[in-house]
Symmetry: C2
Subunit: 329 residues, 2 copies
């Protein structure tokens, strides 16, 4: 490419009218489980925004059902797990499943999207990282303080490690199957890992993320490793071995890249809330991110987290234009 590539986390989402129309008919799980619909939703932002990558429409908690966990999405509350994982017996009962069977709908959606895209832009597959998935499993949903999650680390370390071993295995298998189905890049979402101290990250999380990343190396596709609130964890996260590090807006991109070193590519890092502002302010911020990236290859423009539901779609489209214009080499 002769300019900086750009895509957005949650680029298929409620901020887009086309998506809201589909959501009126189906809930999230139904969309995910219907490959034709998931493919359609995946392609909506490609048509509307001219972004440089598609990301398969799915949810990071989809693997839970294959593991035998009762997952629901409630209006307003988000994901709810009515039988959270709290004990060694709970962990033991988690099923190791074959994603080619239990998540075949995701793999089929990938195949459809690849065919539809026909090489126009690459398709990104993804999964939650073991820690972030574990936090939902243990807390039973979103959390503010992650007390039960951390308490399992501190009080029941062998239960914690057993859980993480299972999740690492499942994550690796799931991403591998996505790649084999046609995903040309994969992103590992460790969205909530920023709640941890570097010491806890290092002892309780990093070995498992590393296992996933290293296990994927032989598949030969680029791996993006993403989290939020990770300004104190960046070097540790890098040591998991991904090709691209995602950073949020809470750190300047040049500062982050300087700390990480130029042997890793970087993805980010506009504040998603910036998209609510007036266009001239958005432009100032987009230019600032690009300037800090030094207009070098190895920068993928993105937000620091997913697009928020009330975001004006025109502003999102404008950012794609701005990135392409400003970074033209």
């Amino acid at each position: 490419m002769d300019c900086t590539p750009v895509w957005f986390m949650r680029q298929a989402g409620r901020y887009m009218e086309e998506y809201r129309r589909v959501r009126k008919k189906y809930d999230i799980l139904t969309i995910c489980k219907n490959p034709e619909v998931a493919a359609e939703v995946t392609l909506q932002p490609i048509r509307r925004l001219h972004v440089d990558a598609a990301i398969i429409f799915a949810d990071i908690l989809l693997p839970l059902q294959g593991m035998g966990v009762n997952l629901e999405f409630t209006r307003g509350e988000g994901p709810v797990i009515r039988d959270p994982i709290r004990t060694a017996a709970d962990v033991k009962a988690l099923r190791l499943f074959d994603p080619r069977e239990d998540l075949s709908f995701v793999l089929e959606a990938i195949q459809i999207v690849r065919k539809e895209l026909n090489g126009k832009v690459p398709l990104i597959g993804f999964s939650g990282a073991p820690f972030t998935v574990a936090s939902y499993l243990i807390e039973g949903g979103h959390s503010t303080h992650y007390i039960r999650t951390k308490l399992m680390m501190y009080s029941e370390p062998s239960t914690w490690h057993a859980l993480m071993r299972k999740l690492a295995k499942i994550t690796l298998e799931y991403l591998r199957s996505q790649i084999r189905a046609g995903a040309q890049v994969v992103q590992i979402f460790d969205s909530w890992v920023g709640c941890l101290s570097p010491g806890d990250y290092s002892n309780f999380v990093l070995p498992y993320t590393r296992q996933v990343v290293q296990g994927l190396k032989e598949e030969g596709v680029p791996i993006i490793h993403f989290g939020t609130g990770t300004s104190g964890l960046l070097e540790l996260m890098k040591s998991a071995g991904s090709d691209v590090m995602g950073v949020d807006w809470r750190i300047d991109l040049d500062e982050a890249w300087g700390r990480l070193g130029r042997d890793v590519a970087i993805q980010g890092n506009l504040d998603p809330v910036a998209l609510f502002g007036p266009l001239h302010e958005i432009e100032r911020r987009v230019e600032d991110v690009l300037k800090r990236a030094g207009n070098r290859p190895g920068h993928i423009f993105n937000l620091g987290h997913g697009i928020l539901p009330q975001t004006p779609v025109d502003h999102v489209a404008a950012v794609v234009e701005m990135v392409h214009q400003y970074s033209k080499r």
Copy 2:
């Protein structure tokens, strides 16, 4: 002192039975407005925990009522402002008040506590920082994404700056009056500032916090500047000029202190959730924090944020012991 001093944010709080007994009789605002009760609650952790400082019992949103804002504390929801500040006219209507009149109850509580402490440990006064108070004023309560707050910065910068000018003036006056009433240290809580990018912090927040800090210099008491999720903002925050920088657990203390430089003292930084763990794990973490601080003067041991309501009180007391024992010089 011949060891590292330790106190805890929210050391007077629901985790303590003595406090819960008082809260059964009075709501938070009633406690704050009754100097005898506020003083009693302030002293509870001194008796129970042997901490090295008292912090006056108050709430960072108390100044709102003096400004003419309708503040309530609802069960579960926390602070609620039914008429949030959204427009230039709203900002204009905010009253600049004299804390010696409208917040005289806080100053009286400070006087009572000083008398009761009789020099045993110093008393810390505090206030919210202009940004964090502004975020409550604009959002109407707690927030996840701070969309309206940031939107005011981006779309109505003159309204934002007018609001921050007023809040800086009120914060400065309030802290000055606390010092003159007897506070021997003050802490500025910019608890939610970690939601900002460094650029936004620099343009929209730092000048006002700096104004408060600089305005307090002539009072001759140490100033602690605290926030959470600030790993990407530390150097900027330091430039406001405080004597002590508070850091949370999301960054290693040695890393933070190294970046900040040894000309500033540091406060922190145990994860409040660590206090839920078994004592041997707490001990390992307390020692780690102290080791990273290099057992130097200039380190004040604290959590990275306030004590959580379900925290076992014995664990809090044990941390005080551990800090004193381990850091004995």
